[in-house]
């Protein structure tokens, strides 16, 4: 299909029925684009124009939304779109060689569509399968885990033979929960409806008061008191109140929500329903990250079962006036949408740019109405608190960090997977349990969290000491911590929404500085520049993405400085310019880009 040729009659009809299914609601723009792309493979401009007219939006607005999300394509892409998860853990498992192998077998250049339009191969941010990587995502839908050279060779053949991805060996797409250690949240679950019944036995305010007694704090990273958030939302005036589940688990190295969504969906949905009772909401939304698209159908079935059981819908559990239902919105590849106001923008069919706050979502959230946004794990915790009481929960963990936390353990250890511990657990204990040996460092809470060296393994998980959103990536002494930081720097630059100057330009400058060090052209002056950028981005960005983007850099420079210095040309030499970069003009003028035209290839 040419970029500007009109839509085929079939495509137009398909698009029309999608628009109709969404009631031509402009707030459904992201969902409509996603569904049409699943049908057509990409989003040609005539389709964007059709959508714009139908939704009464400008073409530029629709185009701006379409090219904000990494999983949307406004240029033709291969019929098979292979995305290699490119988290540091995938890299440590050898994804780079596998990507090159696949490109070689399929005779396709990375990041480019093969001339016959059959396949595109590229990388994506962490897809949440670090415990069973290297992993790929096919056509923004199907996952393949535990890649090996053999699997890649077979995959290349299947693609060449144009076997639909749904017909590939089923075991390739098998995703294990890998629960290695279960505590209260991952242990036996209350039967569906029992926690809700316990909540409904009390007045909403009584439920809220008990939640405050539990001292539960949000599990998504920021650690805001859930009871306080819900109280603010309940108190806020509005026509409708909304409950939103943030299942946009994008922090690299985090995959605990994947497991909760896979095997604990009832507990999660029950927590959302209890939230609706407590804050007085009638509508719930789940924002499911695009990488977890394969979980959509099972989650929808789970919702339907709950409707059939009278646990969702009108007069829930026979209580007149308690009406609540949940719809699932699937994201399209944007880490920044994990920030709650960006998530709401995306739910409203817009670019996922964080809002100016205040006002906060509890007062002015989805469609301007009072909205509580909570993490998957938080809702699950609420269900258990409704059954066992706030005092019980407050008795687990530490005074400021009550209850348990689920950790996604990956990297250099014998037993990667899911571990649940009460807050207050020692880092070293987790390392022992997962079979980590000769450990150099642990990245807790993902790239925007903290990097701990061996001197700090006696510290404890908790808001008082080492807070975490759930990632726990282990690096042994064979790893180059500079490469870890460089991977994270590329991640942040890739995921910056581009709205504010310090994050948009700063993340890119950090990448350029680190790549320069990697090429061996760096000097100690470059490390000084990195310090400056870190300082600026901590105070001047619009949201937390930019503010945290230099955390891995700061930690690794401070704790593993020799890893940086080994990449420096000289500790004292100040490089004036990059010789090879200077040649780029000459390359452009002469139209040459062969290996002889690059300095590093000349002896």
């Amino acid at each position: 299909m040419n970029a500007n040729s009109p839509l085929s009659a079939q495509a137009a009809a398909e698009l029309q029925s999608m628009l109709k299914r969404h009631g031509s609601d402009p707030h459904a723009l992201v969902q409509i684009l996603r569904e049409f792309q699943a049908f057509a493979g990409w989003l040609p401009r005539p389709a964007l124009l059709h959508v714009a007219k139908a939704l009464n939006l400008t073409l530029a607005h629709v185009q701006g939304v379409a090219d904000f999300y990494r999983f949307f394509h406004t240029e033709p892409v291969g019929a098979y779109r292979v995305l290699f998860s490119n988290n540091i853990t995938d890299r440590m498992l050898g994804n780079e060689a596998l990507l090159r192998q696949l490109c070689g077998l399929l005779k396709v250049a990375r990041n480019q569509m093969r001339a016959d339009g059959l396949v595109s191969v590229t990388t994506s941010s962490c897809t949440g399968l670090c415990d069973q990587g290297p992993a790929v995502l096919i056509n923004h839908h199907q996952v393949v885990t535990r890649l090996t050279q053999e699997r890649i060779a077979q995959m290349a053949e299947l693609i060449e033979q144009q076997v639909p991805a749904e017909q590939w060996p089923a075991e390739w797409s098998h995703v294990d929960d890998q629960i290695r250690l279960a505590d209260v949240k991952l242990g036996p679950q209350p039967p569906p409806g029992s926690a809700l019944a316990a909540a409904l036995a009390r007045e909403p305010q009584a439920m809220l008061d008990d939640l405050k007694r539990s001292k539960l704090r949000g599990r998504g990273g920021a650690g805001y008191a859930t009871g306080t958030k819900w109280q603010l939302c309940r108190n806020a005036a509005g026509q409708v109140h909304y409950v939103i589940c943030n299942a946009d688990e994008g922090e690299p190295g985090t995959f605990k929500d994947r497991v909760l969504l896979t095997s604990y969906a009832d507990t999660l949905f029950e927590g959302m329903t209890i939230a609706a009772w407590a804050v007085g909401a009638s509508r719930g939304l789940m924002y499911l990250r695009g990488e977890y698209r394969y979980l959509l159908e099972p989650l929808e079935s789970s919702l339907q079962r709950r409707r059939d059981m009278g646990l969702l819908g009108n007069s829930i559990q026979g209580r007149p006036g308690f009406d609540f239902d949940i719809t699932i919105h699937v994201g399209a590849g944007a880490y920044v949408c994990g920030e709650e106001s960006a998530l709401i923008e995306s739910l409203e069919g817009k670019r996922g740019v964080p809002r100016i706050r205040p006002p906060f979502p509890v007062e002015h959230g989805y469609l301007g109405q009072p909205t509580t946004v909570n993490n998957v794990e938080t809702f699950c915790a609420v269900t258990h608190i409704a059954v066992h009481g706030g005092a019980w929960w407050a008795g687990i963990g530490t005074p400021q960090s009550t209850g348990t936390k689920i950790h996604s353990v990956s990297g250099d250890c014998e037993r990667p997977g899911i571990y649940e511990y009460p807050f207050g657990t020692r880092i070293g204990r987790i390392l022992e349990d997962c079979g980590a040996r000769d450990t150099q460092a642990v990245q807790v809470g993902g790239p925007s969290g903290v990097c701990l060296s061996a001197l700090e393994f006696d510290r404890h998980i908790g808001f008082e000491d080492v807070p975490t959103a759930g990632a726990f990536m282990v690096f042994d002494r064979s790893r180059d911590m500079f490469e870890v930081a460089r991977n994270f720097a590329h991640f942040f630059a890739h995921e910056s929404c581009g709205f504010c100057t310090p994050c948009r330009v700063g993340t890119e400058l950090v990448v350029r500085q680190l790549d320069k060090l990697k090429r061996g052209y760096g000097s100690s002056a470059d490390i000084q520049v990195l310090y400056e950028l870190d300082k600026l981005m901590h105070g001047a960005t619009h949201c937390g993405l930019g503010a945290g983007a230099c955390n891995p850099l700061r930690d690794t420079i401070a704790k593993f400085r020799p890893a940086y210095e080994q990449h420096l040309k000289s500790l004292h030499f100040v490089a004036g310019f990059d010789m090879d970069a200077e040649l780029s003009q000459a390359r452009r003028v002469t139209g040459r880009n062969d290996s002889g035209a690059h300095l590093e290839n000349l002896e």
Binding site: A60, Y69, I356, C497, T501, V505, G506, T541, H542
Partner: protein, 240 residues
């Protein structure tokens, strides 16, 4: 305009800006109140006639020790606001350098030189060079319109044209792309300016603080030396 800027005498309040007392009215941001009172806080994406954007971050100040953009923080009684400090001005200089290296800004050959808010603010903050390596991006120039030139090489993504055009009900501009590839989009089927609804007298066509949107055939009508910032630095401009 004056009415919009009136301070409601019924609910006066004051905060301290670098030790000066500043009065504010209901709904004022720190930047709004400061500008009305004749104080300068560096800014690029803020404009008194439009809702705050908060993207350039030049107006970042410290309020009771916490940093934030003065254009997005509501003024309230008793705030202690620091703005004109060596630390914050150094940070502003870095932000300006970032904007300069991100785009293609060649002041000597730019018609906007002397009238440019980016250039004037860079002078104000004592910026003497780019500090970082230039990106030299390959950006679009749209000369399709008979009266207007759109040169994205100079765009700083302040969104003022987007807001102005929305306010005029035309919605000619929108933001596209993401991260360092973010860029301005023109609303028309071809994506070109001449197919859009923009007119040369639109607010959106005249609000660009830099030289990204320029009227054609006006080159050097005002000679260098007689331009907006030739007689006074940006800090001594009126609030409007």
């Amino acid at each position: 305009m004056m009415n919009d800027h009136r301070i409601d005498a019924l609910s006066p309040g004051t905060f301290a800006l670098d030790g000066h007392e500043v009065e504010f009215g209901p709904g004022d941001s720190i930047l709004q109140a400061a500008r009305r009172a004749g104080h300068y806080i560096p800014h690029l994406c803020w404009h008194p006639d439009f809702a705050a954007h908060g993207s350039c971050r030049l107006c970042t100040v410290k309020v009771n020790g916490r940093t934030g953009a003065a254009c997005t923080i509501a003024a309230s009684s008793g705030q202690d606001v620091e703005s004109d400090t060596p630390e914050l001005n150094a940070q502003r200089k870095t932000l300006l350098q970032m904007l300069f290296v991100e785009g293609n800004h060649f002041c000597p050959s730019c018609e906007k030189s002397g009238n440019c808010l980016l250039q004037a603010t860079a002078y104000q903050m004592g910026m003497e060079g780019p500090h970082f390596e230039e990106f030299y991006p390959n950006r679009r120039v749209d000369a399709s319109h008979p009266d207007l030139l759109l040169d994205l090489n100079r765009c700083i993504l302040c969104g003022l044209c987007v807001r102005a055009s929305a306010q005029e009900g035309k919605h000619v501009f929108a933001m596209g792309g993401r991260g360092v590839s973010s860029h301005l989009l023109v609303n028309s089927e071809s994506g070109q300016l001449d197919d859009s609804a923009i007119g040369p007298t639109d607010r959106a066509a005249n609000i660009c603080p830099v030289g990204a949107i320029l009227p054609k055939r006006r080159g050097f009508v005002i000679p260098i030396g007689q331009r907006r910032f030739d007689s006074h630095p940006v800090s001594q401009e009126d609030a409007t």
